[in-house]
């Protein structure tokens, strides 16, 4: 009874151990690589699985985890051996690295890598320490690609860098059963003196644009003012031309009418004087002469008496007047 009792107890312990180590529930998006006596046996997929603990052992993979830094310290990584292989896309944030561009500027870059295990068997058996391998490969490839570009190109062609890098990495990681989905450059930090120079360049560029804009504005303003003046002068000249024409027309009309009236008057006088048998020309001259004298002597302030300088003229006019008087008488 007693030995059988112990035997049954030992069997119970064995079964307990078997169950504890033999039942494996694998979660979605995870696989476990099982080796039977050191040789690859099977890949456990999601769901409940049974292995034989005496022969079967999960093969571990080294995986990297991000540990948030305590109290403001930067986050750090720890490596841990896992028997579950995560097939989800994973992101690695690499520490800053120094890279020299084609124009010999030392810049600091910070890359972000998204990758995914596409073939867990290869990821376990073809590469030792996968996270480190991926990191070092990315860093050296990045150095390679940026070494071919100038600083300006580095800053502007992130997309090209990502594309090139992905193609380069894809070839290398094919063997490892890993696919690099994306490589992103987080920061590109030129050295401080270059940054200051870039800032200066930017400021100078802005100043240049400001000065040009101002000059262009002034130019426009001057042109507009000149144009305005020109138009105003043209309008003014046209106005005065119009008014002068009108005035001249008016004057011409007036002169015409006065002349007409005078002609009418002369005709009437001629007729009247001529009927009397006298010379109407002489009468008219005498009339004008008297009129002119009256005008010259006219005005209340004028105390000077104008006399014709030409005696002959006076005499002839007097003669004319006498003749008129004689004729009348």
């Amino acid at each position: 009874m007693q030995p059988l009792h112990w035997f049954v107890l030992a069997l119970a312990v064995l079964v307990i151990a078997l169950v504890i180590r033999g039942l494996r529930i694998v979660q979605q998006a995870e696989v476990v690589i099982i080796e039977r006596l050191g040789k690859y046996h099977t890949t456990l997929t999601s769901g409940i699985n049974i292995i034989w603990p005496f022969f079967d052992k999960p093969r571990k993979i080294i995986w990297r985890f991000l540990v948030p830094g305590a109290g403001g310290e930067p986050a750090s990584y720890i490596l841990r051996e896992m028997d579950r292989i995560d097939l989800r896309e994973t992101v690695y944030d690499f520490p800053r690295q120094n890279v020299i561009t084609a124009d010999n500027v030392l810049i600091e870059i910070n890359a972000l890598l998204y990758f995914q295990i596409t073939d867990p068997i290869k990821a376990v058996y073809e590469i030792n320490n996968l996270p480190d391998a991926i990191e070092k490969l990315t860093q050296t490839s990045l150095r390679n690609i940026i070494g071919e570009l100038s600083l300006d190109q580095t800053l502007t062609s992130r997309d090209t860098i990502n594309q090139k890098l992905r193609i380069l990495l894809d070839e290398a990681t094919d063997k490892w059963g890993v696919r690099i989905n994306r490589v992103e450059l987080q920061d590109i930090m030129p050295p401080p003196d270059i940054r200051i120079a870039m800032e200066k360049q930017m400021r100078a560029e802005r100043d240049r644009r400001a000065v040009i804009l101002e000059a262009e504005g002034q130019k426009r303003a001057v042109i507009l003012q000149a144009e305005g003046k020109r138009e105003a002068q043209i309008a003014e000249a046209e106005g005065s031309k119009q008014s002068e024409i009108l005035r001249a027309d008016g004057e011409a009309g007036a002169i015409q009418r006065v002349a007409n009236a005078e002609a009418e008057a002369i005709r009437a006088i001629t007729k009247a004087v001529g009927d009397g048998g006298a010379d109407p020309t002489k009468y008219l001259i005498a009339l004008k002469y008297l009129d002119a004298l009256k005008e010259m002597a006219g005005g209340n302030t004028n105390k000077v008496v104008f006399l014709p300088f030409e005696a002959t003229g006076i005499l002839s006019s007097l003669g004319g007047i006498k003749e008129l008087l004689q004729e009348k008488a």
Partner: protein, 149 residues
């Protein structure tokens, strides 16, 4: 306390434990405990009780996977994720996909690809993913030829 009561209690505690520690390991022992409780109630000796516990646990351990696959998989839809999800999807050949090289655009991402039978697939061909090898898609023409739209 009676033996059978102790077994029953242990079984219940183990089943409660199962809620907190998933993986079906405590539950296996729980079933063993329940079986042993029955043996104890039928006045078998301690050796028989332990033997019954061991045998039941072992049987549950062996049958759990087939039972799960038969009963539970009916209610649990199998959702393919990651790489498995890509199989059967339709992508677009970006350049000549031959038995040696080629690029295929799948879900907005460019993949290295090979055709499965070594035939060359011209750019613009709609391709179906057969499997993933390394980080390459193994594709075949989807039958419908797609012009470049």
């Amino acid at each position: 306390m009676e033996d059978w009561l102790l077994w029953l209690l242990a079984g219940i505690v183990l089943d409660i434990l199962e809620i907190f520690i998933p993986g079906f390991i405590p539950a296996c022992f729980g079933f063993g405990c329940f079986a042993a409780a029955i043996a104890a109630a039928l006045d078998f000796g301690l050796t028989v009780q332990i033997a019954v516990f061991t045998a039941t646990t072992f049987i549950v351990f062996l049958s759990i996977r087939p039972v799960f696959l038969k009963l539970l998989s009916k209610n649990t839809p199998s959702v393919a994720t990651n790489i498995e999800r890509l199989v059967g999807m339709i992508g677009l050949a970006l350049d000549d996909v031959s038995g040696l090289q080629g690029l295929v655009k799948l879900e907005g991402e460019v993949w290295n690809s090979r055709s499965d039978d070594g035939r060359s697939l011209p750019p613009g061909t709609r391709v179906r993913v057969l499997r993933v090898e390394g980080n390459k898609l193994i594709v075949t023409a989807n039958g419908v030829h797609q012009s470049s739209n």
